[in-house]
Protein backbone atom coordinates (compact mmCIF):
# COMPACT_ATOMS: atom_id res chain seq x y z
CA UNK A 1 0.00 0.00 0.00
CA UNK A 2 1.41 3.35 -1.01
CA UNK A 3 1.66 6.32 1.33
CA UNK A 4 -1.25 8.01 -0.51
CA UNK A 5 -3.37 4.88 -0.19
CA UNK A 6 -2.55 4.67 3.52
CA UNK A 7 -3.45 8.32 3.99
CA UNK A 8 -6.76 7.88 2.17
CA UNK A 9 -7.58 4.74 4.17
CA UNK A 10 -6.78 6.54 7.42
CA UNK A 11 -8.94 9.52 6.39
CA UNK A 12 -11.85 7.22 5.50
CA UNK A 13 -11.51 5.39 8.81
CA UNK A 14 -11.43 8.70 10.68
CA UNK A 15 -14.57 9.87 8.89
CA UNK A 16 -16.39 6.62 9.70
CA UNK A 17 -15.44 6.75 13.38
CA UNK A 18 -16.36 10.43 13.45
CA UNK A 19 -19.77 9.66 12.00
CA UNK A 20 -20.36 6.95 14.56
CA UNK A 21 -19.43 9.28 17.41
CA UNK A 22 -21.65 12.06 16.05
CA UNK A 23 -24.65 9.75 15.64
CA UNK A 24 -24.90 7.36 18.60
CA UNK A 25 -26.04 3.98 17.33
CA UNK A 26 -28.61 3.55 20.08
CA UNK A 27 -30.29 6.83 19.19
CA UNK A 28 -30.76 5.82 15.58
CA UNK A 29 -31.99 2.28 16.08
CA UNK A 30 -35.77 1.94 15.79
CA UNK A 31 -37.30 0.77 19.04
CA UNK A 32 -40.81 -0.16 20.13
CA UNK A 33 -40.47 2.01 23.23
CA UNK A 34 -39.89 5.77 23.45
CA UNK A 35 -36.17 6.35 23.88
CA UNK A 36 -36.53 9.59 25.82
CA UNK A 37 -38.98 10.45 28.56
CA UNK A 38 -39.71 11.66 32.04
CA UNK A 39 -41.82 10.31 34.86
CA UNK A 40 -43.11 13.01 37.16
CA UNK A 41 -44.83 12.21 40.48
CA UNK A 42 -46.51 14.94 42.51
CA UNK A 43 -46.24 13.14 45.86
CA UNK A 44 -49.96 12.40 45.96
CA UNK A 45 -52.22 10.83 43.31
CA UNK A 46 -50.76 12.13 40.05
CA UNK A 47 -48.16 10.39 37.90
CA UNK A 48 -47.28 12.03 34.59
CA UNK A 49 -45.13 10.62 31.83
CA UNK A 50 -44.04 12.53 28.73
CA UNK A 51 -41.87 10.94 26.09
CA UNK A 52 -40.86 10.72 22.45
CA UNK A 53 -39.27 8.35 19.98
CA UNK A 54 -36.13 9.20 18.03
CA UNK A 55 -36.73 6.19 15.78
CA UNK A 56 -39.68 3.84 16.04
CA UNK A 57 -40.03 0.28 14.83
CA UNK A 58 -38.62 -3.21 15.41
CA UNK A 59 -42.13 -4.58 15.93
CA UNK A 60 -42.49 -8.31 16.24
CA UNK A 61 -45.96 -8.44 14.69
CA UNK A 62 -47.67 -6.75 11.76
CA UNK A 63 -50.38 -5.26 13.98
CA UNK A 64 -48.62 -4.33 17.21
CA UNK A 65 -49.89 -2.59 20.30
CA UNK A 66 -47.73 -1.00 22.96
CA UNK A 67 -48.40 -0.83 26.66
CA UNK A 68 -46.73 1.37 29.25
CA UNK A 69 -47.40 -0.12 32.66
CA UNK A 70 -47.07 1.71 35.93
CA UNK A 71 -46.36 -1.34 38.06
CA UNK A 72 -46.69 -0.69 41.80
CA UNK A 73 -45.21 -3.20 44.22
CA UNK A 74 -47.47 -2.16 47.07
CA UNK A 75 -50.90 -3.32 45.95
CA UNK A 76 -52.59 -1.05 48.49
CA UNK A 77 -50.91 2.19 47.42
CA UNK A 78 -53.54 3.11 44.81
CA UNK A 79 -56.88 1.58 43.95
CA UNK A 80 -58.26 2.91 40.67
CA UNK A 81 -57.22 5.27 37.94
CA UNK A 82 -58.18 8.00 35.54
CA UNK A 83 -55.95 8.36 32.47
CA UNK A 84 -55.40 10.97 29.82
CA UNK A 85 -53.07 10.39 26.88
CA UNK A 86 -52.39 11.46 23.32
CA UNK A 87 -50.91 8.17 22.13
CA UNK A 88 -52.50 6.95 18.88
CA UNK A 89 -55.71 5.01 19.59
CA UNK A 90 -54.79 4.78 23.24
CA UNK A 91 -56.41 2.56 25.85
CA UNK A 92 -56.32 2.02 29.57
CA UNK A 93 -55.62 -1.27 31.28
CA UNK A 94 -56.62 -0.13 34.77
CA UNK A 95 -59.59 -2.49 34.80
CA UNK A 96 -57.21 -5.44 34.84
CA UNK A 97 -54.76 -4.01 37.40
CA UNK A 98 -53.84 -6.85 39.74
CA UNK A 99 -55.85 -9.46 37.83
CA UNK A 100 -52.90 -11.33 36.34
CA UNK A 101 -50.21 -9.51 38.32
CA UNK A 102 -48.37 -11.34 41.06
CA UNK A 103 -47.05 -9.19 43.93
CA UNK A 104 -47.79 -5.94 42.15
CA UNK A 105 -50.52 -4.07 40.33
CA UNK A 106 -49.95 -2.84 36.81
CA UNK A 107 -51.90 0.22 35.78
CA UNK A 108 -51.41 0.29 32.04
CA UNK A 109 -51.84 2.91 29.36
CA UNK A 110 -51.45 1.58 25.86
CA UNK A 111 -51.76 2.30 22.18
CA UNK A 112 -53.49 0.06 19.64
CA UNK A 113 -51.61 1.84 16.83
CA UNK A 114 -48.12 2.57 18.14
CA UNK A 115 -46.62 2.08 14.69
CA UNK A 116 -48.37 5.30 13.62
CA UNK A 117 -46.68 7.36 16.35
CA UNK A 118 -44.44 10.06 14.98
CA UNK A 119 -40.82 10.47 15.87
CA UNK A 120 -39.78 13.70 17.56
CA UNK A 121 -43.28 14.43 18.78
CA UNK A 122 -44.15 14.56 22.44
CA UNK A 123 -46.63 12.04 23.77
CA UNK A 124 -47.92 11.79 27.28
CA UNK A 125 -49.76 9.36 29.50
CA UNK A 126 -51.00 10.78 32.78
CA UNK A 127 -52.49 8.80 35.63
CA UNK A 128 -54.71 10.31 38.31
CA UNK A 129 -55.02 7.53 40.83
CA UNK A 130 -57.76 7.33 43.41
CA UNK A 131 -58.17 5.44 46.65
CA UNK A 132 -55.42 3.45 48.27
CA UNK A 133 -53.29 3.72 51.38
CA UNK A 134 -49.70 3.33 52.49
CA UNK A 135 -46.65 5.57 52.63
CA UNK A 136 -44.59 4.23 49.76
CA UNK A 137 -44.53 1.88 46.81
CA UNK A 138 -41.69 0.62 44.68
CA UNK A 139 -42.48 1.11 41.03
CA UNK A 140 -41.36 -0.01 37.62
CA UNK A 141 -42.49 1.86 34.57
CA UNK A 142 -42.32 -0.89 31.99
CA UNK A 143 -43.14 -1.27 28.34
CA UNK A 144 -44.47 -4.27 26.49
CA UNK A 145 -45.27 -4.95 22.87
CA UNK A 146 -48.71 -6.51 22.73
CA UNK A 147 -50.90 -8.10 20.08
CA UNK A 148 -54.51 -9.20 19.69
CA UNK A 149 -54.26 -12.61 21.29
CA UNK A 150 -57.59 -13.63 22.79
CA UNK A 151 -60.04 -11.84 20.49
CA UNK A 152 -60.01 -9.63 17.42
CA UNK A 153 -61.34 -6.29 18.52
CA UNK A 154 -59.69 -3.43 20.40
CA UNK A 155 -60.19 -4.31 24.06
CA UNK A 156 -57.60 -4.70 26.77
CA UNK A 157 -58.97 -8.17 27.51
CA UNK A 158 -58.00 -9.23 23.98
CA UNK A 159 -54.38 -8.24 24.34
CA UNK A 160 -51.47 -10.49 25.20
CA UNK A 161 -47.69 -10.21 24.97
CA UNK A 162 -46.41 -10.23 21.39
CA UNK A 163 -43.46 -12.48 22.17
CA UNK A 164 -41.48 -13.88 25.06
CA UNK A 165 -38.18 -12.20 24.26
CA UNK A 166 -37.48 -8.67 23.08
CA UNK A 167 -41.03 -7.48 23.61
CA UNK A 168 -40.74 -5.77 26.96
CA UNK A 169 -38.51 -4.03 29.44
CA UNK A 170 -38.25 -1.45 32.18
CA UNK A 171 -37.99 2.24 31.31
CA UNK A 172 -37.51 3.45 34.85
CA UNK A 173 -37.80 2.09 38.36
CA UNK A 174 -37.73 3.61 41.80
CA UNK A 175 -39.98 4.33 44.75
CA UNK A 176 -42.98 6.58 45.15
CA UNK A 177 -43.08 8.18 48.59
CA UNK A 178 -46.30 9.81 49.71
CA UNK A 179 -45.74 13.53 50.24
CA UNK A 180 -42.53 13.65 48.18
CA UNK A 181 -42.58 14.81 44.59
CA UNK A 182 -39.98 13.52 42.17
CA UNK A 183 -39.05 13.59 38.54
CA UNK A 184 -36.92 10.97 36.80
CA UNK A 185 -35.79 10.84 33.18
CA UNK A 186 -34.85 7.97 30.89
CA UNK A 187 -32.71 8.34 27.81
CA UNK A 188 -31.77 5.22 25.83
Amino acid sequence: MTRIQKTCAFAALTLMVGALVALPAAAQTPKQYPQYGTLNYNGAHLVQTDFYWRAIGNWHTSDPALELDMNLYNVDYFDSCTISSNMPSWYDDCGFAGVMDSGYEGFGAGSYKPETAKTYQYYYADWNFSGGSGLSADFKLSWQEMKHTFCWFDATGCMGGACSSGCGGVLKSGRLNWGTSQSVTWNY
Binding site: T38, N40, N42, H45, L46, Q48, D50, Y52, D79, S80, C81, T82, I83, S84, S85, N86, M87, P88, S89, W90, Y91, D92, C94, G95, F96, A97, V99, M100, Y112, K113, T116, K118, T119, Y120, Q121, Y122, Y123, Y124, D126, N128, S130, G131, H148, T149, F150, C151, W152, F153, D154, A155, T156, G157, C158, S183
Partner: protein
Protein backbone atom coordinates in the same frame (compact mmCIF):
# COMPACT_ATOMS: atom_id res chain seq x y z
CA UNK B 1 -75.16 -39.87 -18.52
CA UNK B 2 -73.72 -36.51 -19.32
CA UNK B 3 -75.68 -34.82 -16.54
CA UNK B 4 -74.43 -37.43 -14.06
CA UNK B 5 -70.86 -36.71 -15.10
CA UNK B 6 -71.40 -32.96 -14.72
CA UNK B 7 -72.89 -33.59 -11.28
CA UNK B 8 -69.81 -35.56 -10.26
CA UNK B 9 -67.50 -32.82 -11.50
CA UNK B 10 -69.56 -30.22 -9.68
CA UNK B 11 -69.49 -32.31 -6.51
CA UNK B 12 -65.72 -32.67 -6.79
CA UNK B 13 -65.32 -28.91 -7.26
CA UNK B 14 -67.54 -28.31 -4.25
CA UNK B 15 -65.44 -30.73 -2.25
CA UNK B 16 -62.25 -28.93 -3.20
CA UNK B 17 -63.78 -25.56 -2.25
CA UNK B 18 -64.97 -26.97 1.09
CA UNK B 19 -61.50 -28.37 1.74
CA UNK B 20 -59.85 -25.04 0.97
CA UNK B 21 -62.28 -23.13 3.20
CA UNK B 22 -61.82 -25.62 6.04
CA UNK B 23 -58.05 -25.41 5.71
CA UNK B 24 -58.16 -21.61 5.73
CA UNK B 25 -60.37 -21.58 8.80
CA UNK B 26 -58.14 -24.01 10.65
CA UNK B 27 -54.97 -22.09 9.83
CA UNK B 28 -56.39 -18.57 10.42
CA UNK B 29 -55.60 -16.80 13.69
CA UNK B 30 -58.07 -17.68 16.41
CA UNK B 31 -59.27 -14.10 16.71
CA UNK B 32 -60.13 -13.99 13.00
CA UNK B 33 -62.25 -17.11 13.24
CA UNK B 34 -64.44 -15.98 16.06
CA UNK B 35 -66.35 -12.81 15.36
CA UNK B 36 -69.74 -13.09 17.04
CA UNK B 37 -72.15 -10.22 16.59
CA UNK B 38 -73.32 -8.19 19.63
CA UNK B 39 -76.54 -10.23 19.65
CA UNK B 40 -74.60 -13.50 19.56
CA UNK B 41 -72.38 -12.29 22.39
CA UNK B 42 -75.43 -11.50 24.53
CA UNK B 43 -77.03 -14.86 23.79
CA UNK B 44 -73.82 -16.70 24.54
CA UNK B 45 -73.35 -14.86 27.83
CA UNK B 46 -76.96 -15.38 28.94
CA UNK B 47 -76.59 -19.09 28.30
CA UNK B 48 -73.26 -19.46 30.11
CA UNK B 49 -73.83 -16.99 32.97
CA UNK B 50 -77.57 -16.39 33.39
CA UNK B 51 -77.20 -14.76 36.82
CA UNK B 52 -74.10 -12.67 36.18
CA UNK B 53 -74.14 -9.10 34.80
CA UNK B 54 -72.18 -8.46 31.62
CA UNK B 55 -70.16 -5.37 30.78
CA UNK B 56 -70.76 -3.47 27.55
CA UNK B 57 -69.56 -0.25 26.00
CA UNK B 58 -72.16 2.19 24.78
CA UNK B 59 -71.12 5.14 22.63
CA UNK B 60 -73.25 8.22 22.11
CA UNK B 61 -71.69 9.27 18.81
CA UNK B 62 -70.77 12.69 20.21
CA UNK B 63 -70.00 14.31 23.53
CA UNK B 64 -73.17 14.65 25.59
CA UNK B 65 -73.97 16.57 28.77
CA UNK B 66 -73.31 14.93 32.12
CA UNK B 67 -76.99 15.17 33.03
CA UNK B 68 -77.98 13.31 29.86
CA UNK B 69 -75.53 10.53 30.66
CA UNK B 70 -76.80 10.40 34.22
CA UNK B 71 -80.42 10.16 33.03
CA UNK B 72 -79.49 7.42 30.56
CA UNK B 73 -77.72 5.36 33.23
CA UNK B 74 -80.50 5.83 35.77
CA UNK B 75 -83.28 5.19 33.25
CA UNK B 76 -81.87 1.76 32.44
CA UNK B 77 -80.56 1.05 35.94
CA UNK B 78 -77.05 0.41 34.67
CA UNK B 79 -73.91 -0.04 36.74
CA UNK B 80 -71.39 2.55 35.58
CA UNK B 81 -67.93 1.04 35.13
CA UNK B 82 -66.02 3.63 33.10
CA UNK B 83 -66.52 7.06 31.59
CA UNK B 84 -64.80 8.17 28.36
CA UNK B 85 -64.38 11.84 27.55
CA UNK B 86 -63.00 14.05 24.82
CA UNK B 87 -62.70 17.78 24.43
CA UNK B 88 -60.49 19.91 22.19
CA UNK B 89 -58.36 16.97 21.09
CA UNK B 90 -57.80 15.72 24.65
CA UNK B 91 -59.05 12.25 25.54
CA UNK B 92 -59.46 10.76 28.98
CA UNK B 93 -61.00 7.83 30.78
CA UNK B 94 -62.00 7.30 34.39
CA UNK B 95 -62.96 4.08 36.11
CA UNK B 96 -63.17 2.78 39.65
CA UNK B 97 -62.47 -0.74 40.72
CA UNK B 98 -65.54 -1.37 42.85
CA UNK B 99 -67.96 1.55 42.73
CA UNK B 100 -70.39 1.51 39.82
CA UNK B 101 -72.72 4.30 40.90
CA UNK B 102 -73.78 7.16 38.68
CA UNK B 103 -71.74 9.55 40.83
CA UNK B 104 -68.72 8.40 38.79
CA UNK B 105 -69.71 10.93 36.11
CA UNK B 106 -69.08 13.87 38.43
CA UNK B 107 -66.02 12.28 40.04
CA UNK B 108 -64.58 11.60 36.59
CA UNK B 109 -64.93 15.23 35.58
CA UNK B 110 -63.19 16.32 38.78
CA UNK B 111 -60.28 13.93 38.22
CA UNK B 112 -59.96 14.84 34.56
CA UNK B 113 -59.80 18.51 35.54
CA UNK B 114 -56.89 17.67 37.88
CA UNK B 115 -55.07 15.78 35.11
CA UNK B 116 -55.45 18.62 32.61
CA UNK B 117 -54.40 21.25 35.17
CA UNK B 118 -51.30 19.24 36.01
CA UNK B 119 -50.53 18.76 32.30
CA UNK B 120 -50.80 22.52 31.66
CA UNK B 121 -48.51 23.19 34.64
CA UNK B 122 -46.07 20.54 33.42
CA UNK B 123 -45.50 22.00 29.94
CA UNK B 124 -43.32 24.97 31.03
CA UNK B 125 -40.97 22.48 32.72
CA UNK B 126 -40.65 20.49 29.51
CA UNK B 127 -40.15 23.70 27.55
CA UNK B 128 -37.36 24.72 29.93
CA UNK B 129 -35.63 21.36 29.48
CA UNK B 130 -35.93 21.71 25.73
CA UNK B 131 -34.44 25.21 25.78
CA UNK B 132 -31.57 24.09 27.99
CA UNK B 133 -30.73 21.18 25.71
CA UNK B 134 -31.19 22.97 22.38
CA UNK B 135 -29.70 26.34 21.49
CA UNK B 136 -31.92 28.49 19.30
CA UNK B 137 -29.87 28.10 16.13
CA UNK B 138 -29.98 24.32 16.36
CA UNK B 139 -33.66 24.11 17.36
CA UNK B 140 -34.76 26.42 14.56
CA UNK B 141 -32.72 24.83 11.78
CA UNK B 142 -33.35 21.22 12.78
CA UNK B 143 -36.75 20.13 11.46
CA UNK B 144 -37.09 17.31 14.00
CA UNK B 145 -36.32 19.54 16.98
CA UNK B 146 -38.66 22.19 15.68
CA UNK B 147 -41.40 19.56 15.40
CA UNK B 148 -40.68 18.45 18.95
CA UNK B 149 -41.10 22.02 20.17
CA UNK B 150 -44.27 22.49 18.15
CA UNK B 151 -45.82 19.35 19.66
CA UNK B 152 -45.23 20.79 23.14
CA UNK B 153 -47.14 23.92 22.23
CA UNK B 154 -49.97 21.86 20.67
CA UNK B 155 -50.30 19.72 23.80
CA UNK B 156 -50.37 22.83 25.95
CA UNK B 157 -53.01 24.59 23.84
CA UNK B 158 -55.17 21.47 23.62
CA UNK B 159 -55.10 20.93 27.37
CA UNK B 160 -55.77 24.58 28.11
CA UNK B 161 -58.81 24.50 25.83
CA UNK B 162 -59.99 21.18 27.25
CA UNK B 163 -59.60 22.50 30.79
CA UNK B 164 -61.82 25.47 29.94
CA UNK B 165 -64.41 23.05 28.50
CA UNK B 166 -64.28 20.86 31.60
CA UNK B 167 -64.68 23.81 33.95
CA UNK B 168 -67.52 25.29 31.89
CA UNK B 169 -69.38 21.98 32.24
CA UNK B 170 -69.48 21.56 28.49
CA UNK B 171 -70.47 18.09 27.19
CA UNK B 172 -67.43 15.78 27.24
CA UNK B 173 -68.68 12.22 27.77
CA UNK B 174 -68.89 10.30 24.49
CA UNK B 175 -69.09 6.72 25.81
CA UNK B 176 -69.54 4.65 28.92
CA UNK B 177 -68.81 1.10 29.94
CA UNK B 178 -71.71 -0.30 31.91
CA UNK B 179 -72.60 -3.47 33.73
CA UNK B 180 -76.07 -5.06 33.73
CA UNK B 181 -78.07 -8.17 32.94
CA UNK B 182 -78.44 -9.14 29.31
CA UNK B 183 -82.09 -8.03 29.21
CA UNK B 184 -81.23 -4.63 30.66
CA UNK B 185 -78.37 -4.23 28.21
CA UNK B 186 -80.68 -5.03 25.31
CA UNK B 187 -83.07 -2.30 26.47
CA UNK B 188 -80.23 0.21 26.81
CA UNK B 189 -78.92 -0.72 23.36
CA UNK B 190 -82.29 0.18 21.91
CA UNK B 191 -82.28 3.63 23.46
CA UNK B 192 -82.01 6.45 20.88
CA UNK B 193 -78.98 7.80 22.79
CA UNK B 194 -77.03 4.59 22.16
CA UNK B 195 -75.36 5.00 18.77
CA UNK B 196 -73.05 2.06 19.23
CA UNK B 197 -73.41 -0.98 21.46
CA UNK B 198 -70.59 -3.44 22.08
CA UNK B 199 -71.08 -6.11 24.74
CA UNK B 200 -68.10 -7.95 26.15
CA UNK B 201 -67.11 -11.46 25.28
CA UNK B 202 -65.63 -14.12 27.50
CA UNK B 203 -62.12 -15.01 26.47
CA UNK B 204 -59.42 -17.40 27.63
CA UNK B 205 -59.02 -17.61 31.38
CA UNK B 206 -62.58 -16.47 32.05
CA UNK B 207 -61.74 -12.83 31.44
CA UNK B 208 -64.31 -10.61 29.80
CA UNK B 209 -63.00 -8.44 26.98
CA UNK B 210 -65.09 -5.33 26.56
CA UNK B 211 -64.53 -3.39 23.31
CA UNK B 212 -63.07 0.07 23.80
CA UNK B 213 -65.03 2.97 22.33
CA UNK B 214 -63.63 5.00 19.47
CA UNK B 215 -63.83 8.74 20.15
CA UNK B 216 -65.61 10.86 17.56
CA UNK B 217 -62.82 11.86 15.19
CA UNK B 218 -60.48 9.15 16.47
CA UNK B 219 -57.22 9.62 18.35
CA UNK B 220 -54.74 8.81 15.62
CA UNK B 221 -53.15 12.23 15.34
CA UNK B 222 -52.10 14.97 17.71
CA UNK B 223 -54.43 17.90 17.09
CA UNK B 224 -52.33 20.93 16.16
CA UNK B 225 -54.33 24.14 16.64
CA UNK B 226 -54.00 26.65 13.81
CA UNK B 227 -52.40 29.11 16.23
CA UNK B 228 -49.54 26.61 16.64
CA UNK B 229 -49.48 25.09 13.16
CA UNK B 230 -48.89 28.40 11.44
CA UNK B 231 -45.85 29.34 13.54
CA UNK B 232 -42.43 29.39 11.90
CA UNK B 233 -39.69 27.37 13.64
CA UNK B 234 -38.27 30.63 15.03
CA UNK B 235 -41.68 31.59 16.39
CA UNK B 236 -42.06 28.14 17.94
CA UNK B 237 -38.77 28.69 19.77
CA UNK B 238 -39.83 32.15 20.93
CA UNK B 239 -43.13 30.79 22.24
CA UNK B 240 -41.22 28.13 24.16
CA UNK B 241 -38.98 30.85 25.59
CA UNK B 242 -42.05 32.75 26.75
CA UNK B 243 -43.40 29.55 28.25
CA UNK B 244 -40.31 28.15 29.86
CA UNK B 245 -38.22 31.24 30.48
CA UNK B 246 -34.95 32.18 28.81
CA UNK B 247 -32.61 29.44 27.71
CA UNK B 248 -29.77 28.64 30.11
CA UNK B 249 -26.71 28.85 27.92
CA UNK B 250 -28.61 28.56 24.66
CA UNK B 251 -27.84 31.73 22.74
CA UNK B 252 -24.55 33.55 23.16
Amino acid sequence: MSSTRESRIAARKLGVVALVVTTLLLTAPIWAQDQPSPEERLTSWAKAHPETPLQATISFGKAVADQQVRSFVEKHDLGLVAVYTHAEGVHAMSRERTATDVGLIARARGRIVEVAEARVERMPVIARQFLEENPKEKAVSDRQLSGLGRSQLAILENNRAALAAYKANRPIVYAVTVSASVDVLKAAAGDPMAKSFEPGVEVEGGRVAVPDPVPPGGTAELRVPASVGELTPAQVYERLQELGGPAQGGER
